[in-house]
């Protein structure tokens, strides 16, 4: 249908159109050829309608799988990270009755309870951190 090269004027018009519509889905050469065809009366109403539909449809879509991959990769990474972070921690050593008794006293506002709690926690902490070191070694 379009068998002639665009004229210089047509090219200028096409470039102007391309500048005015930088996001247009067709390049300047195609626009130039299209303008040429319109001027020469080579486009039927059906052709014009088809071109308009194509322009309205926007640029050719990326294949669907590309979006699926683009979504699936970060989702899989996020899921893996959530599973990794949500895994159970090292089992903390069971607090001794002495520690719990000291904690009771401290929570009742007894000063000696606080001192005893700190002393008991020093022992408990040592065991707890040692179990963590074993876990993460």
């Amino acid at each position: 249908m379009i068998d002639e090269d665009p004229t210089a004027e047509e090219r200028r018009e096409a470039e102007a159109l391309a500048r005015a519509t930088p996001d247009a889905p067709v390049d300047a050469q195609e626009v130039a050829a299209l303008l040429g065809a319109v001027k020469a009366g080579e486009l039927t109403a059906a052709d014009r309608a088809a071109v308009w539909r194509r322009v309205q449809a926007g640029p050719a879509r990326r294949p669907r799988w590309a979006w699926r991959v683009a979504l699936a990769v970060p989702l899989a990474a996020a899921l893996a990270m959530a599973v990794w972070l949500g895994r159970p921690g090292a089992s903390a050593p069971t607090p001794s009755p002495a520690l719990l008794t000291a904690q009771t006293d401290a929570a009742r506002g007894h000063a000696e309870g606080r001192v005893a709690l700190e002393r008991q926690m020093r022992v408990f902490r040592k065991g707890f951190l040692a179990s963590l070191e074993t876990r993460y070694r």
Binding site: A70, W84, G89, L100, Q103, A106, F128, E133
Partner: protein, 151 residues
């Protein structure tokens, strides 16, 4: 664009995942040992700064969340107790920082409520202190029940 973003995200995830959990646990032990040694010398300031530096350090993603919480809650408990006599408001803030990591029925959460109660008592907020101590006692009772010891 998407490809670039994916590459950056993947690299960032890889870097975080490669954070060294053993060094973090070792740093926790060292900070606690330094604090203990400083307290034996009567140097509460050095004890506070050793624990404070550790509390602010980044936690590698390879550390499981429950472990992260327990270690940091214990550090915030110590910071809060040490700060109570110096600056009770800061002590409350330390306890709150620990509690925001998550509340559980364990020694670590109960200790934070004890520390918060102490700090509030120091500030003259007796009802706030009573509420905090009550929270500690509730957890403490559950733990005592589990070990079969009567309070």
């Amino acid at each position: 664009m998407i490809r670039r973003l994916l590459t950056v995200a993947a690299l960032a995830a890889l870097c975080c995942a490669c954070g060294r959990a053993p060094s973090w646990v070792e740093a926790a032990r060292t900070a606690n040992e330094r604090a203990d040694a400083a307290l034996l010398r009567g140097d509460a300031v050095s004890a506070l700064s050793a624990l404070d530096a550790f509390a602010d350090a980044a936690v590698p993603n390879t550390v499981a969340r429950p472990d992260r919480r327990r270690v940091l809650q214990d550090v915030f408990y110590r910071l809060s107790e040490l700060e109570t006599l110096v600056d009770a408001r800061r002590a409350v803030a330390y306890a709150d920082r620990g509690l925001t990591l998550g509340e559980h029925e364990d020694v670590f959460t109960a200790n934070l409520w004890v520390a918060k109660g102490d700090a509030l008592e120091q500030l003259g907020d007796d009802s706030g202190a009573a509420r905090a101590f009550a929270r500690a006692l509730r957890i403490n009772e559950i733990l005592l029940d589990a070990t079969g010891v009567s309070p």
